[in-house]
């Protein structure tokens, strides 16, 4: 999913749960900023693809794969909040609806999957989700005003 859709989903979650301060930062950190691995892998992308838009290129990392729960769960216990776990799970659910190849448990397992809803075109899924999130965000903001 694009970073814009992740921001919309996280914003909806932050509004719905009425998060503030540190919890808001954690929500955006684990709901959106885990995408920073694309920036870390940008040199690989540029070398392999150049400046073209090749969305199927594998440039994910364990930072946004289910294996991340292994370090996020202890972190949540240390911080005494489940916010990172929740928003990371939302991020994963969204990413796994896009049909690019993913390695959920690498480096512990080499299992490769394309996620779920692989029969529906990615653009359709993203378009529908994005629209729903925009409407839900506006509706929630309006209701709380």
């Amino acid at each position: 999913m694009t970073v814009f859709t992740h921001i919309l989903a996280t914003t909806l979650g932050v509004q719905a749960l009425d998060l503030h301060g540190r919890d808001t930062a954690l929500a955006y950190g684990f709901g959106v900023a885990v995408d920073v691995d694309h920036a870390l892998k940008a040199p690989f992308y540029l070398r392999a693809v150049g400046l073209q838009d090749k969305r199927g290129y594998y440039w994910r990392s364990s930072l946004q794969e289910p294996v991340g729960f292994l370090w996020i769960a202890p972190l949540c216990l240390w911080l005494g909040t489940a916010v990172p776990l929740l928003f990371f799970a939302i991020h994963l659910l969204m990413d796994y609806s896009v049909s690019f190849e993913k390695m959920p448990f690498y480096p512990y397992s080499h299992w490769v999957t394309r996620g779920w809803l692989v029969g529906v075109p990615d653009k359709v899924k993203e378009g529908i989700l994005c629209s729903v999130l925009v409407v839900a965000n506006v509706a929630l903001w309006w209701a709380r005003r």
Binding site: A48, V49, G56, M103
Partner: protein, 251 residues
């Protein structure tokens, strides 16, 4: 600490540091091995029992004695690697034993600090968890900052809860960095494959499986860098063709 098999911690303990440590510990290692006839494995076990004794002392509120015993344990733990390298006794099994007993020692010592009421039990358990997580990847990533029980020596100046927070944070961060480093290794492998980028992950995995299938049953025990298994061009071609066909069927 260095394993009996000369376990690598490439990013932190480079070859030059290892050579310096071996040179410094050489005389003591000679005494241990030649005079007392101790093998690297026996030194590893002795280090563990000293750490166990350190844990008992700490739990009994004799923190100073505990830290002294822990220091002796760590000294022996370092000597096992020196003896192994100096006398050609290194082995993969020795490295594994060393790593496992190191983690067991840390677990005992961390829990002892909790038993003594110096830190909350939850913090000690989470520090152990972070160290164990790092251990699962540090051999492959080559990244281990080495901030484990050694941090506890600073207890005279820094409160123990802060030191445990440091151990937890550093090891958890090192685990995340280690995962990323391993990802980068795999990314290079995928990029070298080229071809259809939509299927590059599954093709790289299939190739890795094929290489494992071609690997010898057991690596020579004394060789710390066994030769990489060779995959024939025909094998590579078969795997890549099969994977490409499979992914085309899925699409």
């Amino acid at each position: 600490m260095l394993g009996a098999g000369g376990g690598e911690r490439r990013a932190v303990v480079g070859p030059s540091v290892k050579r310096l440590a071996d040179w410094l510990a050489g005389p003591l290692a000679r005494v241990m091995h030649e005079r007392f006839g101790l093998s690297p494995t026996q030194l590893t076990w002795a280090a563990f029992w000293l750490s166990g004794a350190a844990a008992v002392a700490v739990a009994a509120h004799h923190t100073g004695v505990g830290l002294l015993l822990m220091a002796l344990g760590q000294l022996l733990d370092g000597l096992d690697g020196t003896v192994a390298r100096a006398y050609g006794l290194g082995s993969e099994a020795g490295h594994r034993l060393d790593t496992r007993l190191d983690r067991a020692s840390e677990t005992l010592i961390f829990l002892a600090f909790a038993a003594a009421g110096l830190v909350p039990l939850g913090h000690a358990v989470l520090a152990v968890a972070a160290v164990l997580l790092l251990t699962t990847v540090c051999d492959r990533s080559g990244f281990d900052p080495g901030v484990k029980r050694v941090a506890l020596y600073f207890g005279a100046w820094v409160p123990y809860p802060t030191l445990f927070a440091l151990i937890f944070g550093v090891n958890l961060a090192a685990y995340v960095i280690g995962l990323l480093l391993i990802d980068f290794q795999f990314q290079r492998r995928m990029d070298r494959l080229g071809g259809d980028l939509d299927t590059v992950a599954s093709r790289a995995v299939a190739l890795e499986h094929a290489e494992r299938g071609a690997a010898p049953a057991a690596a020579p025990a004394l060789d710390p860098h066994p030769p990489q298994p060779q995959t024939t061009e025909a094998q590579r071609h078969r795997v890549l063709t099969a994977e490409t066909q499979r992914t085309q069927r899925i699409q």
